[in-house]
């Protein structure tokens, strides 16, 4: 489990992270999201002991984290991009980082990690000849080869092609299925939406929201209702108690209305429409994309901050 408690970090006079708290439980894949400069990497550095928090604490598997803490042996880390000794082969680099932990080669999950890396014969070539994608896959192999109980991965899909991203997604899902706690930061929101079970959204170093991804994507109290007469449906729903808004997103296409009615059950909406003679094909709770949710939250936060700054 990963536990950040009231983490704060300043660089000079600039606050990078302020009072950030969240937890990632075993079996969860948590995406740490935020615009550039939100404090994601600073947070990850504190979580792996590379940076000491000015206030608050970071714990992994119940143990406090500091530079070189023993608990890091159970953590797979990708932070600030891949980094290797360029004149050594991929295998030699993996050996080097593994032997630094004073453990006998090979690591427990080496084969699976190398399968994911998919470097083939290139694993025995010098890293200085690797492409960006190959380096990224090698650093992922480095993080995964130790069969960690916790994974902390900063932009793990950088430089990967779609097939590699899918393989990574499957690998992380398997790890989470085996009760690993996984924290990933990413800008690829569509990818995160397919991968994460939970999200932590940061902006300007502060927590915006944290919780299950499904809750974030649910548009509170909104339903999409497919009908055979859009105009009649709009008229019926607008007159219904508890409905705060009704719209036909694409009148030209016809057939669908979006109703916002926080305190009304979908069955009541359907009953009202059917009673009024409007045919209903389907009614389902409306969801939004992670991108929509993310932009709505971060832009709202920016607006609030700017307003305060203006005053």
């Amino acid at each position: 489990m990963i536990d950040a408690h009231e983490l704060s970090k300043r660089y000079g006079r600039r606050p990078a992270v302020e009072g950030l708290s969240f937890t990632v439980a075993p079996g969860q894949i948590c995406a740490l999201l935020g615009p550039n400069g939100a404090g994601k990497t600073s947070t990850m550095r504190m979580l792996v002991g590379l940076s000491a928090p000015d206030a608050g604490s970071a714990r992994i598997l119940g143990e406090p984290v500091c530079l070189g803490a023993a608990v890091l042996r159970r953590v797979g880390v990708l932070i600030d991009g891949p980094a290797f000794v360029p004149h050594l082969t991929g295998t030699a680099n993996l050996r080097l980082l593994w032997s630094a932990t004073r453990r006998a080669w090979p690591p427990p999950a080496l084969d699976d990690a190398l399968d994911l890396a998919g470097l083939g014969a290139a694993i025995d070539r010098k890293v200085k000849g690797y492409s960006m994608g190959m380096r990224q896959r090698l650093v992922l192999a480095q993080a995964l080869m130790r069969a960690p109980d916790v994974l902390i991965l900063d932009e793990p899909a950088n430089g990967l092609d779609p097939a590699e991203v899918r393989a990574l997604r499957d690998h992380l899902a398997t790890a989470a299925g085996q009760r690993a706690a996984v924290l990933v930061s990413s800008h690829q929101l569509a990818e995160v939406q397919q991968l994460a079970t939970h999200v932590v959204v940061m902006h300007h170093g502060r927590l915006v929201t944290a919780g299950p991804l499904a809750d974030l994507l649910r548009d509170a109290g909104a339903f999409r209702v497919e009908v055979d007469d859009t105009a009649a449906a709009l008229a019926v729903l607008r007159g219904m108690p508890g409905v705060t808004s009704v719209a036909a997103p694409d009148p030209a296409a016809g057939g669908e209305v979006v109703v916002t009615a926080p305190d009304v059950q979908s069955s009541d909406l359907v009953q009202a429409l059917v009673t009024a003679g409007v045919g209903v094909t389907s009614a389902r709770r409306a969801t939004r994309s992670l991108e929509d949710a993310f932009l709505a939250m971060t832009q709202a936060t920016t607006g609030g901050r700017d307003d305060r700054a203006a005053h």
């Binding site: 590379l50 940076s51 530079l67 070189g68 890091l72 953590v75 980094a83 000794v85 932990t101």
Partner: protein, 265 residues
């Protein structure tokens, strides 16, 4: 950690080339002076005049030739790389999260500096000995204008000279290593270390600046050469103390830098 540092530094092509360059000096000097094998090397006196008498003479002359500048430059290059390379490559953060603590990291790096410095000194000595045997033959150590020392005495002088030079090289290695940790790039650390050696050598050559020169380790680097003069004695204690003090200060600075530096930087 020592094995990691040696894997990443000592086995680099750049390192091997540098060591080969050091080894090439005695070989080329041996070839150049081969026509004088068995007799005095031209009109020169001291170590260089006797270089052509035997393998041991040639070895000590090679050490005296390389020790003022070439050997310390190579040693500084290797030590600065040990201090800075993993930061240049970005692998330092992955060592910390492996995890490796600061104390173990520093101990491993210091041991690697000592091993690479010894390798550099040995490159000169071994190449000198092998090329000397090949070109001049294995004969007793000769000292111009003095009786030949016995075998035990000769070995004692050679070991004293080699050990003292190694200690001197460890002092510049410690300085370069500290600079490697302190400065943002390895190239800057190497430049600063070489500039220090050159500037200290220039200062040392100015009699008017003697009071400044005596506090610099470079001032004592050639103190071993009187071991091969007719009187056969050298005052090495002051020089050894200066080197040890330099090593202690540079090591302390290295530890402070490593503790205070942002590990993610």
């Amino acid at each position: 950690m020592l094995r990691i540092e040696l894997t990443t530094q000592l086995l680099r092509v750049r390192t091997l080339v540098a060591l080969a360059c050091l080894a090439a000096v005695p070989v080329l000097a041996g070839l150049a002076t081969a026509p004088d094998a068995g007799r005095r090397n031209g009109t020169q006196g001291g170590l260089f005049g006797a270089a052509t008498y035997s393998a041991l003479n040639h070895t000590m002359a090679s050490l005296a030739f390389t020790a003022p500048l070439l050997l310390p430059i190579v040693v500084a290059m290797l030590a600065a790389a040990v201090g800075s390379a993993d930061r240049d490559w970005g692998t330092l953060r992955y060592l910390y999260v492996a995890p490796v603590g600061r104390g173990r990291l520093l101990a491993g790096k210091l041991a690697a500096v000592a091993v690479t410095t010894a390798a550099a000194v040995l490159s000169v000595l071994v190449a000198g000995l092998l090329s000397g045997v090949a070109v001049f033959g294995w004969h007793p150590l000769r000292i111009i204008d003095a009786a030949d020392p016995g075998t035990g005495d000769a070995i004692g002088r050679v070991l004293a000279a080699s050990g003292y030079t190694l200690l001197c090289m460890l002092s510049i290695a410690a300085i370069a290593f500290a600079l490697g940790l302190l400065l943002p790039r390895g190239a800057e650390a190497l430049g600063a270390a070489v500039a220090f050696v050159v500037a200290a050598s220039i200062l040392n050559a100015q009699p008017a600046l003697h009071s400044v020169a005596v506090i610099l380790p470079v001032h004592y680097w050639q103190d071993w050469t009187p071991l091969f003069d007719p009187q056969g004695t050298a005052r090495l204690a002051a020089g050894a103390m200066a080197q040890v003090a330099t090593i202690a200060v540079a090591t302390a600075v290295s530890g402070l830098v490593l503790i205070r530096r942002d590990p993610a930087a």
